[in-house]
């Protein structure tokens, strides 16, 4: 396995975020190579060969996504960088945005060149105000040196890239809700199809990629697709930024090859459990990913293995739960969160998440009744697969997962005298 790492600078925080530091570390060489020596088709081909899978949650290959945008259109095409990072447990993109913003700018530039896009936005969650300022300062540096603007590197290629701040809404991480929000509206997801690649921002063809996904692009262009697939797994290459939080000794972001086991991530890299605590469960890919038990730690962290285990890699946010924590308490946070964040557009999600919260809050306050667990399963099943956007599934899956893996404990909690 190759030793090269894409995000080491951001994680170490060494060198700083300035354009000088980035150039000194070899920055913008990949973009110069793409714009100066390659055709857009060759760039697209390289990213397709690398099979770079989306780092935001769905794991969809970025090259395929780019390929769906029509080459010929009479409308302006757009690129949106999804920096909404709202999935609870997730904080990895903050490191890239705050410590290595030029890596993201360079990746965005290469993606825009590959798809023939001249206008792009970074949609950043509203709570990251201080980080948005840092990113804006980095953009100003890039404009100053003609790494962005009407004539990038003197190549004739133009790219306008701007920051757009959200205002506190989980659903705006869903790509069509993000587009609505960027247009100045409520974040109500759109019916698909049409997909954003054909009808996206302002009705024009649009690519939407996660921050970490785009930050992987310069490495692929500079070193080739084989370098990327050599790290990680052949079908799911590269490294991932695993954000580990919860009851571990060293919470933080760890850049590790795709396919590293959960056990390695938690016990080798994150320092194991906090003193006196034992591992009870792990949420492997952000709050919406179904929970795993302590006996499932040898799973390789890649998109396909997690799906086979009934969960998902999602955003790679590993939340480690210890034996002091009642599972009902985890369920309570899950239930409150999704009820709070449902946009209200689809009835099953709006009402289902509200009813799930009511039942769980009653259970948590000691008013559980026999049959509550079955009722929760029935409610969650009534949300799953019945909504316009994936949030219905995101709300239902963790509830069903907790019931499946911890039913006896939950039932014990409801039968408390």
């Amino acid at each position: 396995m190759a030793e090269a790492k894409t995000f080491a600078r951001a994680l170490g925080g060494e060198g700083g975020w300035s354009v000088e530091a980035y150039l000194q570390a070899g920055g913008y060489r990949a973009a110069r190579k793409a714009l100066g020596e390659m055709t857009p088709a060759a760039v697209l081909d390289e990213v397709k060969k690398a099979n770079l899978r989306g780092r935001g949650g769905a794991g969809f290959p970025a090259g395929l996504k780019w390929g769906f945008v029509p080459a010929k259109t009479d409308k302006p095409k757009y690129l949106c960088v999804n920096a909404d990072e709202g999935e609870p447990g997730t904080f990895k993109d903050r490191y890239i945005l705050g410590h290595d913003p030029h890596l993201l700018i360079e990746g965005t530039l290469i993606a825009a060149f590959a798809v023939g896009i001249h206008r792009a936005f970074v949609y950043i969650r509203g709570e990251y105000e201080n980080i948005a300022r840092r990113l804006e300062a980095a953009l100003a540096e890039a404009y100053e040196r003609a790494f962005l603007g009407p004539d990038v590197f003197g190549s004739g290629f133009a790219l306008d890239l701007r920051v757009h701040r959200g205002a506190g809404s989980y659903i705006c991480g869903e790509e069509t809700a993000l587009l609505e929000s960027l247009e100045g509206k409520r974040g109500h997801p759109r019916l698909k199809p049409p997909f954003p690649a054909s009808v996206g921002l302002f009705g024009a063809p649009t690519v939407i990629n996660n921050v970490e996904t785009l930050a992987n692009v310069p490495g692929i262009i500079l070193n080739g697709a084989a370098w990327f697939t050599d790290q990680g797994l052949p079908t799911d290459g590269g490294t991932r930024l695993f954000g580990v939080s919860g009851a571990v000794a060293r919470p933080g972001v760890y850049e590790l090859p795709v396919g590293t086991t959960l056990r390695d991530i938690i016990f080798t890299h994150a320092g194991g459990m906090l003193p006196g605590r034992r591992l009870k469960a792990v949420i492997p890919g952000g709050l919406s990913s179904p929970i795993l038990r302590a006996d499932e730690l040898d799973l390789p962290m890649c998109c396909d293995a997690l799906v086979r285990a009934g969960s998902m890699l999602g955003s790679g946010a590993v939340i480690v739960i210890d034996d002091r924590t009642p599972i009902l308490d985890v369920l309570l946070r899950v239930a409150r969160f999704y009820a709070h964040e449902s946009c209200g557009q689809c009835t099953p999600c709006r009402l289902g998440t509200a009813w799930i919260r009511k039942v769980v809050e009653r259970m948590a306050s000691g008013g559980g009744r026999p049959g509550d667990v079955d009722e929760l399963a029935r409610l969650a099943s009534g949300v799953k697969g019945r909504t316009l956007c994936p949030m219905g599934d995101a709300a239902a899956m963790p509830v069903l997962g907790i019931i499946q893996k911890f039913r006896p404990e939950l039932e014990g909690a409801t039968c408390r005298p």
């Binding site: 247009e183 100045g184 919860g246 709050l287 946070r333």
Partner: protein, 157 residues
Amino acid sequence: MKAVFSADLRRRVEDLAAKYPSKSAALLPVLHLVQAESGFIGPDEEESVAALLGTTPLEVREVVTFYTMFRRKPVGRYHLQVCRNVSCSLLGGDAILDYVRKKLGLNVGETSADGRFTLNTVECLGACEQAPCLMVNFDHYGNLTENRVDEILGELA
């Protein structure tokens, strides 16, 4: 009645609007600016923003009420938001919230009589490696303990 915005704010709104293919797309950034100047976004501010961006007060209100960061009422000078999601709760987020409540003598959602503090809970702030965490206005504070909370509040006082 329309709120009267400063000349500086009006200019910044116009600059923002010019950066988007359609003026109304600047609504979120414009509302952030208005809230920073006025402290909140009431009906008067909605009307003025609508006029500046060529949209309707109703459309502005839809947006203001949809996004949790937009406020329809003033908050204290220091707006404390304590995370209540899983990563923070695993490391004592609830106890921190209780401590802040007692220390400030405020329930969640309340503002102190002197207008200095407002206390709220918030969903995941994206700083889970520093759990438990809270935000004061736009500044993040992590790895909270009771002593650390004392220090933070002491600095604000």
